[in-house]
Each structure stands twice: as structure tokens, then as C-alpha cells.
């Protein structure tokens, strides 16, 4: 092993740790410093691509991936990273090709299985996703990320007991936000709102920068109050929309509003126009004020959440 590769092994351990903690920016900085000294290191470019995907910088991730694959076309890590980029871009077929290549290069690569499973979930093929994750589990029965992902799938399918068991097995190997989130949802399904809130605190305690707490908190708010829950679900959903869908929602809403008012003019329904206008202005005010308000409510909620010593 060359000096550079030895150095990279050390860097890779720290990078993985940062990514597991939901700190892609920290991972990017580590890799940036490494690449300043070894700009042709294919694996470093592939790792950087992974970190950039986590940081949602897909354009840069794709360019890093192309660099990695150009330097080392048979680098499985690079194919998995490219699969993740293409999955994020919703280019399913190409993503599947790269992930299949990654598995051909290394049939025991659980990250390739996990990403392929995520692809099938996105395409609505839950059963196939579980099948792949179970196959991966034959290779690595104690992989905590794999167990957490399997737990998520079983929870989504309503198999709460199985989800809980897998999540606890995952945590026994290594605590991950995904497994904690599953346990939080299990608590919520059983009507234990306070228990679910403690899981939010647990995620934040160990992973201050992780988004999973947000999803769980939105679900808790939904359980506490129908109206407030609607607000939280709507805001979380709006935050999670991609660019195209966000534009579609915004412009579509305006199109509906104007078409309705134009068609109502001069008809028996003309008296309803002020109501439609009020509804529209309320939606406009929401788009400007809502995200900031949601963030302040979230910060307030997260400040209230404190991990109880006995938990």
C-alpha cells in the first residue's frame, strides 16, 4: 500500500464517521484537504461524491463521479456513488445500471444493495427492496445501516414488531439516526408520544445536524393536533419538494387562482371572487412567511426537547 493510500485509509475512516453523523460539510473539508495533495486519487473523488450527494450538491457530485470513473472505471465505490447521484436526479435506469455494475464488481457490497433498495422504494417496489436488503443481510448480518433500512421497510409495510426488533439489533451494533427514528415511529404507533419525543432528543443529542429528527417531530405534531399536524406535514412536505415540483405547485396554484377568477367574472359566481382572492393572498403570504415561521417553531420545539436521564 502506498503512502498516499495509507493516508487515505485514515482519512476515509474519519470521512465515514462524519457522514454517519450527518455532517457532510465536515467530510467535504477533509476530502478537500486530501485532494489538494493527491488530486488524482479516484477513491477520494468517489468519497467526495458521496459527501456531496449528502450535502445535496448533485451537480458537483456528478462531476466528481465522472472524475473517479475516468481514473478507475472498475471502482465499485464510484459506481455506487454515481448510482446515488442518478437516483437523486430520478434517472432510475442509469442508476440501476451503475448499481448493478457495482454488485458485479463486488457481490458483497452492502452499500450497493442498500442504494438499489432505495431505488426500488422510490419506484414503488417495496417488496423487491426488502428482498434485496434480505439478500444483503446474508452477506453482512450485523451491518447497522442495513438493519436500520430493513427496519424502515418493515415499518412502512406495517410490521411494527419486526421493525422494532431490527431497529434494536441495528442500535446494538452502532447507534444510527435512522434506527432511532424507526423506534420513535414505533413508539408513536403505540400511542407513546412522549417516548417518541425522547427519540427526537436522542437523535439530536448524538447527531445535532441530522434531519431525521425533523421527520419524527412532524409526525409527533400531527399526532397531537389535527390542525397543527396539517401545518407541520404541509411545511415538511413543501421543504422536501424538488425544484420542479415546487415550481409546479407555486405556478399551478397561481394558474388555478387566475383561471378561476377570470372564468367567474360576469357570471352568477362573480360574488365568490373576493373569497378566492383572499384564499390566494393567504397562500402567497404563507409562501413568504411560512418557511421562516416553520423554522422558528421547529427551533422552539427542538429547544424544548431534552434527553431525560432515565431514557
Amino acid at each position: 500500500m502506498s503512502f498516499v493510500d495509507h493516508d487515505f485509509t485514515t482519512v476515509a475512516i474519519h470521512v465515514e464517521s462524519r457522514l454517519d453523523r450527518g455532517d457532510p460539510l465536515g467530510a467535504i473539508e477533509l476530502l478537500r484537504r486530501f485532494l489538494a495533495h493527491a488530486p488524482d486519487h479516484a477513491a477520494a473523488h468517489a468519497f467526495l461524491a458521496h459527501a456531496l450527494v449528502d450535502a445535496r450538491r448533485l451537480h458537483a457530485a456528478e462531476l466528481e463521479e465522472e472524475t473517479a470513473l475516468a481514473a478507475q472505471p472498475e471502482l465499485g465505490l464510484a459506481h455506487v456513488a454515481m448510482g446515488r447521484v442518478l437516483l437523486a436526479r430520478r434517472r432510475w435506469k442509469k442508476a440501476e445500471e451503475h448499481l448493478t455494475t457495482a454488485l458485479e464488481l463486488d457481490p458483497s457490497d452492502t452499500s450497493a444493495y442498500r442504494t438499489l433498495a432505495a431505488l426500488h422504494v422510490a419506484a414503488g417496489r417495496d417488496a423487491r427492496a426488502i428482498e434485496l436488503l434480505e439478500k444483503a443481510r446474508e452477506q453482512e448480518p450485523d451491518d447497522p445501516a442495513l438493519l436500520a433500512q430493513l427496519a424502515e421497510r418493515h415499518l412502512a409495510a406495517g410490521r411494527v414488531g419486526e421493525a422494532e426488533r431490527l431497529a434494536r439489533d441495528s442500535i446494538a451494533e452502532r447507534v444510527t439516526p435512522a434506527a432511532i427514528e424507526v423506534l420513535g415511529h414505533v413508539a408513536l404507533r403505540r400511542g407513546d408520544t412522549e417516548g417518541a419525543r425522547q427519540h427526537v432528543a436522542w437523535i439530536l443529542h448524538d447527531y445535532p445536524m441530522h434531519e431525521d429528527a425533523l421527520h419524527l417531530l412532524a409526525a409527533i405534531k400531527a399526532r397531537e393536533s389535527w390542525l397543527l399536524g396539517l401545518w407541520w406535514r404541509w411545511s415538511t412536505w413543501m421543504q422536501g419538494l424538488g425544484d420542479g415540483r415546487s415550481i409546479g405547485v407555486l405556478v399551478g396554484a397561481f394558474a388555478l387562482y387566475r383561471t378561476a377568477t377570470i372564468l367567474m367574472e360576469g357570471t352568477a359566481n362573480a360574488s365568490l371572487i373576493p373569497l378566492v382572492q383572499i384564499g390566494w393572498y393567504a397562500a402567497v403570504i404563507y409562501t413568504w412567511v411560512g418557511p421562516g415561521l416553520f423554522q422558528r417553531m421547529l427551533d422552539k420545539e427542538l429547544a424544548k426537547v431534552a434527553l431525560k436521564p432515565e431514557f
Partner: protein, 157 residues
């Protein structure tokens, strides 16, 4: 990728230009386009993108050019479609169609530029206040609206 002063630069990191001190949050060109006129908004987005050294400048310029082509093409098509048919409802729906194209273009530019803006801020770039220019453009639009020839309004304002 590139090496700059002993560090590795990632492709989407901004290279600030001479206009970098005029960079604003992309929300302001969006508002400028809505309130001060479409053409003004487009121009502002271009200047903003150049100022922050946006990594997606080519995409932004393509959006600007594409939207103008669609709108100008729409004006020509309008002449053919509306010949002899000028009932108020049809005219309003046609104007709405033009407004929707402009909104899609403005929002697409805002979303595209927002990522580069986040990086511009992350790397310590200066951010100017866009409110004064939005106000100036809004007032200018009100003052100049009547002097813009008929169909050009559909493209420029």
C-alpha cells in the same frame, strides 16, 4: 476540479467576479421580475449570477434565452390565433398564459441560483440589500408601463 492556492476547488464553488459586491439573495431578482417587469428581473438574475460566479451560469443563461424565445414565439402565435377573436375572457386567459411562462422562468432561475448563493455565503461572499432596487424597478414599471408598445408588454413586463 482545480487546485487553487494549495486547496482543492470543487466544481460548483463560486468564483466571485467584479460584480460580487452587488450580489443579492436570488429572492430579490424574483421579486424584481414580478413587480418591476420580467425583462428587468431577467437582467438582474444575469448580473447576480455573474457577480457570484455561479457554477450554473450557463444553465441560467439558457433559461433566460429560452424563456424569451418562448414568449416572443408566443406573441407571433397570438397574432394568428386571436385574429378576429378578441372576447375579454380569451384575451385574459392568453395574458395569463404569458404570465405563467414568466413565473416558471423566474422561479426556475431563483431555485437554480439559490444553491450557488448558499455557497457564495458559505465562502464569505458579501450580500447586498435588494429591497431598494425592487422598489426602484416597481416605480419605474408603473411610470413606464404606458409607453411600452402593445404586444411588447407581454414579453417585457
Amino acid at each position: 476540479m482545480s487546485l487553487t492556492r494549495g486547496t482543492y476547488r470543487i466544481a460548483d464553488e463560486p468564483i466571485p467576479g467584479k460584480l460580487s459586491r452587488w450580489v443579492v439573495n436570488p429572492l430579490f431578482p424574483l421579486l424584481g421580475g414580478m413587480l418591476g417587469g420580467f425583462a428587468a428581473g431577467l437582467l438582474w438574475f444575469v448580473v447576480n449570477g455573474v457577480g457570484m460566479g455561479s457554477a450554473t451560469l450557463k444553465r441560467e443563461l439558457a433559461l433566460v434565452a429560452g424563456s424569451l424565445v418562448v414568449l416572443v414565439g408566443g406573441v407571433f402565435a397570438l397574432g394568428l390565433l386571436l385574429s378576429g377573436r378578441q372576447d375579454p375572457t380569451t384575451v385574459k386567459l392568453v395574458v395569463l398564459a404569458f404570465q405563467l411562462v414568466k413565473l416558471v422562468a423566474l422561479y426556475a432561475l431563483q431555485f437554480t441560483q439559490t444553491r450557488s448563493f448558499a455557497l457564495h455565503q458559505y465562502f464569505g461572499g458579501t450580500v447586498a440589500n435588494g429591497i431598494p432596487l425592487v422598489l426602484v424597478l416597481t416605480i419605474a414599471r408603473i411610470q413606464l408601463a404606458d409607453s411600452v408598445p402593445g404586444l411588447a408588454v407581454l414579453v417585457l413586463l
